[in-house]
């Protein structure tokens, strides 16, 4: 039996950061993890992380894991045991773990438990069919082992995990048929949601899965609308074709080991379920046991790493004899607590704040800079358009800009403000932004075109001169475009510059290779590009006649969504600029209204 000053159980971001911190303070540490390599969930994250540039923002998850691993392996104070499954915490500060079929024991003076969380399950009919997976399992198969568990996916839950998974699946070449979300709004970050919407993935809000369809394996799913109490509304059931259903309805902390270690546990739903009671410095009701990461509250990797650091610093005080060093550590702890508070001061952390208040931990309000929404900037200049209006803890763009053109300030939950006098059009922020929320724009008024630079993380890359479809925020076809330039970046967020008619300079946010299947131009009436082109080719070159013949723009939206797209097609086909084309007459009602609105004598309440 070996003895250590500290043992860290769980080698995810929290545990790794704790081990690095402990090692750097000269504390003899053992880190245990049941997987083959350290990293926890980081190893399967191919997306760039949000957060503070000091905490690996803009770095992809698996790369963060690699960096942390390197630090751990370089430090002789740290011993690493992987493929080691802790089976229990026993009296006399003893950790027992299994490795290679053998039993091992180790003792500690201080223990950090950072076992993370596991995915919640969702009961639905046939949920035991092969083809129903937890989202994390799909990520492991796909990103760690290179195995695609299916071709057509339906994702249940629109939290960040569900949204990120959808994006990763598309990157891997799979088809995502939709994301089902029981709430009336998207759970995860808006930028994550926009990223996949632009790729054409629909998000079905106020819907749930009723059943999986199939006998041997999943062939599809029945989804239905739910009311405000999450009851299925009968008659709203629809079938979706999919061979894989991914459930990502949240995580729940793995608190078993903490309980065995004598930590008091409370049920705090805002933090994810049963969590160990702890103080601001991650110390539990057992003064020798600390926690960090998802076990303490379901959040993300950055906060996990900071918590790991705080816990480690507090633990290390026990082993430091020199008063001056103790004082330094005290300062470090306070700095980290402040950083953590900054991360948690945004609207997306409201639940966490409420949960932490139950432990007497209050997050101070930090002022934010004024938001300007999406700034358009000066027409004609090559510049960055930052579409980031949701307050999330991230300042990668500010850090990426060498010219000081993007300002976020101390509270990184502020939304970025661009100073277009300073923006040089270098596009570094575009490739740095983890949310792919920045694109480049330059209008050419003389030629009535616009150059749009779109961050692109799919393969293969388009080539210069290639014809592509330009798409809008929902992945709908807007117009044809020509690739003017493709700029490759070492971080794999490349930028594809396309030229579009100037009318679409603000509409185009995405780009795709032309598909065999013709896209819907008019979604109300389900009129495809192909159909419109055929009618124009048959000699109908007048918008009014085209409209009457195909019903394009005549549906419930009154053409608000597609009229400009149709005029663009007509303009391209006829060579007549859009400004010279007749664009029809607007007629009431501007939005469809029920007959009941005009029922005289009906009670207006």
């Amino acid at each position: 039996m070996k003895s250590y000053e500290t043992i860290v159980v769980g080698g995810g971001p929290a545990g790794m950061m704790a081990a690095i911190t402990l090692g750097s303070k000269g504390v003899k540490t053992l880190i245990l993890d049941e997987n083959d390599e350290l990293g926890g969930q980081l190893v399967k994250q191919t997306h760039k992380f949000f957060g503070d540039h000091a905490h690996y923002a803009s770095v992809r998850g698996f790369e963060i894991a690699q960096k942390l691993q390197e630090k751990i392996f370089q430090d002789t104070n740290i011993e690493v045991e992987t493929s080691a499954t802790v089976i229990g915490i026993y009296p006399n500060k003893m950790v027992v773990y299994a490795k290679n079929g053998k039993e091992f024991k180790a003792t500690y003076e201080k223990l950090l438990i950072s076992t993370g969380a596991m995915e919640k399950q969702l009961p639905f009919i046939n949920s035991d069919l092969p083809g129903v997976y937890g989202a994390g399992a799909v990520q492991t198969l796909m990103n760690e082992y290179g195995v695609m568990p299916g071709r057509r996916f339906l994702i249940i839950g629109s939290g960040n995990i569900g949204l990120i998974l959808a994006y990763q699946l598309i990157q891997a070449g799979a088809e995502v048929r939709g994301i089902v979300e029981a709430l009336g709004k998207i759970g995860g970050y808006a930028v994550h949601a926009k990223k996949i919407k632009r790729l054409g993935v629909p998000i079905f809000l106020k819907h749930t899965i009723v059943r999986a369809i199939g006998n041997e394996s999943v062939l599809g799913a029945v989804i239905a609308k739910v009311d405000n109490n999450f009851n299925i509304i009968p008659g709203t059931e629809v079938e979706k074709v999919a061979d894989t259903i991914c459930v990502s309805v949240g995580l729940t902390p793995l608190s078993e080991l903490a309980e065995q270690a004598g930590c008091k546990v409370e049920y705090i739903p805002q933090l994810g379920g049963y969590v160990p009671v702890r103080n601001e410095r991650m110390q539990t009701s057992n003064p020798d046991v600390f926690i960090a990461g998802d076990l303490s509250s379901i959040e993300e990797a950055t906060t996990a790493m900071i918590e790991g650091k705080i816990a480690a610093l507090e633990m290390s005080r026990n082993f430091i004899k020199i008063a001056a060093n103790k004082k330094n550590i005290e300062n470090e702890i306070n700095d980290e607590i402040k950083t953590l508070a900054l991360f948690r001061s945004g609207p997306k952390s409201a639940k966490i704040r409420t949960g932490l208040e139950k432990f007497g931990i209050n997050i101070k309000h930090v002022p934010k800079i004024e938001s300007y929404g999406v700034q358009i900037g000066p027409t004609g200049k090559l510049r960055a358009i930052v579409d980031c209006t949701e307050e999330i803890p991230c300042n990668s763009c500010e850090a990426a800009c060498s010219f000081g053109a993007i300002h976020i300030g101390e509270n990184l939950n502020s939304t970025p403000v661009v100073d277009y006098d300073k923006c040089t059009g270098c596009a570094t922020c575009v490739t740095a932004c983890p949310g792919l929320a920045i694109h480049m724009l330059k209008e050419d008024l003389e030629n009535s075109t616009a150059l749009v630079g779109i961050p692109y993380e799919l393969l293969p890359l388009p080539e210069k001169g290639q014809k592509m479809w330009a798409l809008d925020e929902d992945g709908n076809y807007v117009c044809d475009s020509i690739v003017k330039r493709v700029v490759k970046y070492p971080n794999k967020t490349n930028i594809v510059y396309i030229e579009v008619p100037i009318e679409f300079s603000r509409k185009v946010l995405s780009v795709s290779f032309p598909k065999k299947e013709s896209p819907f131009v008019c979604r109300c009436e389900e009129i495809t590009l192909d159909k419109i082109e055929r009618v124009v080719d048959s000699g109908i070159t007048d918008f009014e006649e085209l409209k009457r013949l195909t019903r394009v723009t005549m549906g419930p939206c009154g053409g608000k969504n597609c009229k400009l797209v149709v005029l663009g097609i007509l303009s391209r086909k006829t060579g007549v600029p859009i400004s010279k084309l007749s664009h029809g007459t607007s007629r009431p009602p501007v939005k469809p209204v029920e007959f009941s609105l005009f029922m005289k004598g009906s009670d207006p309440t």
Binding site: R548, L549, P556, G558
Partner: protein, 380 residues
């Protein structure tokens, strides 16, 4: 645009293009059609799309029956699917007097060979259980009445005549008709002059003005009629339903939307085609009363079109007595679309043979206004 034409047709609506189509079929292809806007921009593109044979005068019935025959073959003849649906027409009666009048009409219509019957309220309820028939006494039912998409029909004719070699000019306004000694010599447009000896006035809501261009005072005038369309739902309603008492017509298109309209209490005169909120306020209660499922149906669009009205609400198809070979097919009073194929055939025959051979339209001449006017009652 050609500089010389055998025939000039003024108006590219369903009547003008149907005449051009029939002329081309009879071999007359050097025909110029002038449309001041786009195809289906006038009354055709704005109409309800009903195709009815249940009229109160035998000649109207015959013309409409011929029209239905041609509509049945439209796809083959003209080459496009116009969402034609033979779902019948249901006319509702609310008083004993109305039932009596309807039964007289049915007798006459059956005499003309039309398959039409009188229905009791119970029979109507069985056929259309989703309707609220409060106050209804009975109705008439003609299963071969139909409806179609007038805009597509108009464009279909336009595309067909272009292919057949007809000189179709959109966005071309006729500015004058040149006559010499009671004969036509040419037509002046904003895009040039075309020599011709035959002019057909098919100008719909502008028929009176175009008449005056050749010095002919045609007794027609325009009146605005409003109309609306709803979102589309699954098919439930086969026929066009007309209630003269409740003042509406309604049909469900093949596309699933409902198209409906009424006669306003004080219809605006002329071709000023606006729309009023009163129209929606008047339509909603009566439509929801008679069709309760419509309560939560969404209105998508309202618009209006001009009825080109004649003194007896019946078409005027004739050749001018003062200007030789000045033919008019006007005054359709809100039912031009449904008659167009037969009128196109008849007028083409008038041009080529000097008279309509297939259908007798002798009663539709101007001379009828010299005697007492018998107004068509069955008009919404």
């Amino acid at each position: 645009m050609i500089s010389q034409a055998s025939v000039v047709i003024i108006g590219g609506g369903i009547i003008g293009t149907a005449i051009a189509f029939n002329l081309a079929k009879l071999g007359v292809k050097d025909v110029s059609v002038f449309e001041k806007s786009y195809i289906s921009s006038g009354s055709t593109g704005r109409c309800g799309g009903g195709i009815r044979q249940q009229w109160t005068s035998p000649m109207n019935v015959r013309l409409a029956m011929r029209s239905v025959k041609l509509f049945e073959r439209f796809k083959l003849d003209v080459g496009m699917d116009i969402e034609y649906y033979q779902g019948g027409y249901l006319l509702l009666a609310y008083t004993e007097k109305e039932v009596e009048d309807f039964s007289e009409n049915v007798k006459m219509q059956r005499g003309e060979g039309l398959d039409v019957v009188l229905l009791t309220k119970r029979q109507i309820a069985q056929k259309f259980p989703f309707m609220n028939l409060e106050g209804v006494k009975g109705g008439t039912w003609c299963p071969t009445d139909a409806h179609a998409n007038p805009q597509i029909a108009n464009i279909a004719y336009a595309m067909a005549i272009k292919q057949m070699g007809v000189d179709l000019n959109t966005y071309t306004t006729v500015e004058g008709i040149d006559t010499q000694g009671g004969k036509i010599v040419g037509v002046q447009t904003n895009k040039g002059y075309v020599k011709t000896n035959i002019v057909i006035n098919a100008a719909g809501g502008f028929s009176h003005e175009v008449g005056l261009m050749a010095g002919v005072d045609i007794p027609t005038y325009s009146e605005r009629h409003q109309i609306l369309v709803t979102e589309s739902i699954n098919h439930v309603l086969d026929p066009m339903v007309i209630s003269f008492r409740n003042n509406y017509y309604v049909r469900q298109t093949m596309h699933g939307s409902f198209v409906m309209g009424q006669s306003d209490k004080k219809p605006a005169k002329g071709n000023d085609l606006g729309h009023t909120i009163e129209f929606l306020e008047e339509m909603a209660p009566k439509m929801v009363h008679d069709f309760p499922f419509m309560n939560h149906l969404h209105i998508v669009r309202q618009w209006s079109g001009a009825y080109d009205l004649s003194p007896d609400a019946q078409p005027i198809i004739d050749e001018s007595r003062s200007v030789s070979r000045y033919i008019f097919a006007v005054g359709f009073s809100g039912h031009g679309f449904m008659l167009a194929p037969a009128v196109g055939e008849a007028v083409a025959e008038m041009v080529v043979y000097g008279r309509s051979k297939t259908t007798d339209i002798s009663n539709l001449g101007m001379s009828r206004f010299a005697s007492k006017i018998e107004k068509e009652h069955n008009v919404v």
